[in-house]
């Protein structure tokens, strides 16, 4: 199954990178063929303005990939250092950080993201920021938890006895030994962000209509569900497959990265 996940993820990335090169302009309208069923000219059909659904799916993959990867990257880049410092030094910082995390974790992920997106304003940048900050508490919590476990290991005590400074211990001992659960978390966070982007765009809080996004496509498709059901099927299917792919890949990575399976 992890291989299937890898295949799906690779296919998704290729679609995002190469798809827009082979498809036509996603904004090009053909009023003679609105709400057309899938055919040779339009493999996925057309929408209410006669735009090619396949071109929009391919360009939408770019938006999804960016939203998924960039927001996760943002959460990691900000969250891991905070979790490292809070978990390693404890003192006064740890309780403050963790209470803030508890408060934000009390909101469901999407509710929090919707709120943030409404404040930041609807755009791809807004989506990335909103989703990134919504992922932040989970990343901080996971990092800190791992750090708490790792810093009690004898090899950290040995590193102190070696004469290591804190920076050396954090980057050479603590961080590498916390890495596997964080990598696995990334494969959970990316699909969550893809769904998050689609949700925000569907609600009109994300990417704005001329730009193709799977969420925007779903909004349109909703109105023509009985006349052109394929319009809803394609973006829905893509969201499901991309999410499934990352989750399966994450399961596989979890096994590979577990040190006990190295033997």
């Amino acid at each position: 199954m992890p291989m299937a996940g890898l295949v799906l993820v690779v296919a998704f990335v290729l679609l995002a990178l190469l798809g827009p090169l082979v498809t036509g302009d996603p904004a090009e309208q053909d009023y003679l063929a609105t709400l057309a069923a899938p055919s040779g000219a339009h493999p996925m059909g057309t929408d209410d303005l006669g735009r090619d659904a396949f071109a929009r799916i391919a360009h939408g993959a770019q938006v999804s990939l960016q939203a998924g990867v960039l927001s996760t990257l943002l959460a990691m880049v900000v969250g891991i250092p905070i979790g490292l410092v809070a978990g390693f030094y404890r003192r006064w910082l740890d309780p403050i950080v963790m209470r803030l995390v508890d408060v934000t974790l009390a909101f469901p992920f999407l509710v929090f993201a919707v709120g943030l997106a409404a404040i930041i304003g609807p755009s791809l940048k807004g989506v990335v920021l909103a989703l990134g900050f919504s992922q932040l508490p989970a990343i901080i919590r996971i990092t800190r938890g791992e750090v708490l476990a790792v810093r009690e290991m004898d090899y950290v005590a040995a590193a102190i006895a070696d004469g290591s400074g804190d920076g050396h211990i954090i980057f050479r001992y603590v961080l590498p030994n916390c890495a596997s659960p964080l990598i696995v978390q990334a494969t959970v966070a990316i699909p969550a962000a893809i769904i998050g982007e689609a949700t925000l765009s569907f609600l009109g809080l994300g990417v704005q209509p001329p730009t193709p996004s799977w969420g925007v496509m779903l909004t349109t498709a909703q109105q023509y569900l009985s006349d052109a059901p394929w319009l809803a099927v394609w973006p829905g299917l893509m969201i499901a497959l991309a999410t499934l792919g990352f989750n399966l890949l994450g399961d596989g990575l979890r096994d590979v990265l577990d040190p006990r399976s190295h033997r």
Binding site: D154, A157, A158, D162, G163, S164, G165, H262
Partner: protein, 322 residues
């Protein structure tokens, strides 16, 4: 003196792990620190390495007071002391090669010439009996005994004056224990480092330690030269510990009187008043429940015991209850 500990106290919140402990280790001397689990013996080791902050008391390493030294100020002094840990599985960084693990102390103390580091790591691995092809391996590829040899190599590569060995063989298979113990003995003779050897098993230190100190609930109850402790233990607790160790001679084993201690070690949260051992001591009398006996040596021979019954002309015998 390489190590002088005076009235060391370490409390973890309400837990009195170490509660007024003094000991000294001379140059090239091996002191066996013996006690049950929960007696605070590992905490002593951690305090000596400054892996934990002592509550009070003083620790002098090679004449220098290190009790409350800052992390940064302590760093250069770490040339002189290192540690061998109990658990060979958690004491080596899984992300480092064996070569890197053993080289770390050198690198952290500004030995950066790559050829010199490589040469010294190679020589050290050979001394602990590891083949050179182990260099590129990772800890999870090694057996427990091999890992403990790596731990020894790391502890010794800077030729420290003092090594704290915290139960270095208790996690190993019995068949491997002897070879690692012999290795420690040989290395100690060759390199001449002092050693604080922490163990719960008296028989482990019988042939290794020059002196033995027996701990009970955070304090030393008896100390003395190893041969004297084994030949004539003075404290009832030491007598009970020795009687519990099996003897290899079946005839003697059968004739021996075993002293079976009742109950468990009392909680270090609330040590008993008077003598800490009185709740389990077969010889305890009224005085023991009230007055705490001090470590004194009325019989001489550098062999003090903390028991009211040890006097100039009498030693208690826990095998003969009053």
């Amino acid at each position: 003196m390489i190590l002088r500990i005076d009235n060391l106290v370490k409390h973890y919140g309400p837990v009195r792990a170490v509660d007024g402990l003094s000991l000294e280790i001379g140059e090239g001397e091996v002191l066996g620190l013996v006690g049950e689990s929960g007696s605070g013996k590992s905490t002593v080791g951690k305090c000596v390495l400054r892996l934990t902050e002592p509550t009070s008391g003083t620790i002098e390493l090679a004449g220098r007071d290190i009790t409350h030294l800052q992390r940064r100020a302590m760093r250069p002094l770490r040339r002189d002391v290192h540690m061998v840990f109990q658990d060979p599985f958690s004491s080596l960084n899984p992300r480092f090669s064996i070569e890197r693990i053993v080289a770390e102390p050198l690198l952290r103390h500004k030995v950066t010439d790559r050829r010199e580091v490589s040469r010294r790591v190679g020589a050290m691995l050979e001394r602990v009996g590891l083949r050179q092809e182990m260099r590129k391996r990772f800890p999870h590829e090694l057996s427990g005994g091999q890992r403990q040899r790596v731990g020894l190599a790391r502890a010794l590569i800077l030729e420290p004056k003092l090594v704290v060995a915290d139960e270095p063989v208790s996690a190993l298979d019995v068949s491997v224990q002897a070879s690692v113990l012999n290795l420690i003995t040989d290395l100690q003779r060759d390199m001449g480092f002092s050693c604080l050897f922490i163990t719960h098993d008296l028989s482990v230190v019988e042939f290794l330690a020059d002196r033995i100190a027996v701990m009970y609930l955070g304090r030393i109850v008896e100390s003395g030269p190893t041969a004297d402790i084994f030949a004539g233990p003075r404290h009832p607790y030491t007598q009970a510990l020795l009687s519990a160790a099996p003897v290899a001679d079946p005839v003697k084993q059968r004739e021996r009187r075993r002293i079976v201690l009742g109950g468990d070690v009392p909680s270090p949260l609330d040590p008993p008043p008077g003598c800490r051992f009185h709740t389990r001591c077969p010889l305890a009398y009224d005085e023991c429940r009230v007055t705490e006996p001090l470590l004194n040596d009325p019989r001489g021979g550098g062999h003090p015991a903390a028991c009211h019954l040890v006097t100039a002309d009498r030693v208690p015998d826990a095998a003969l209850p009053r």
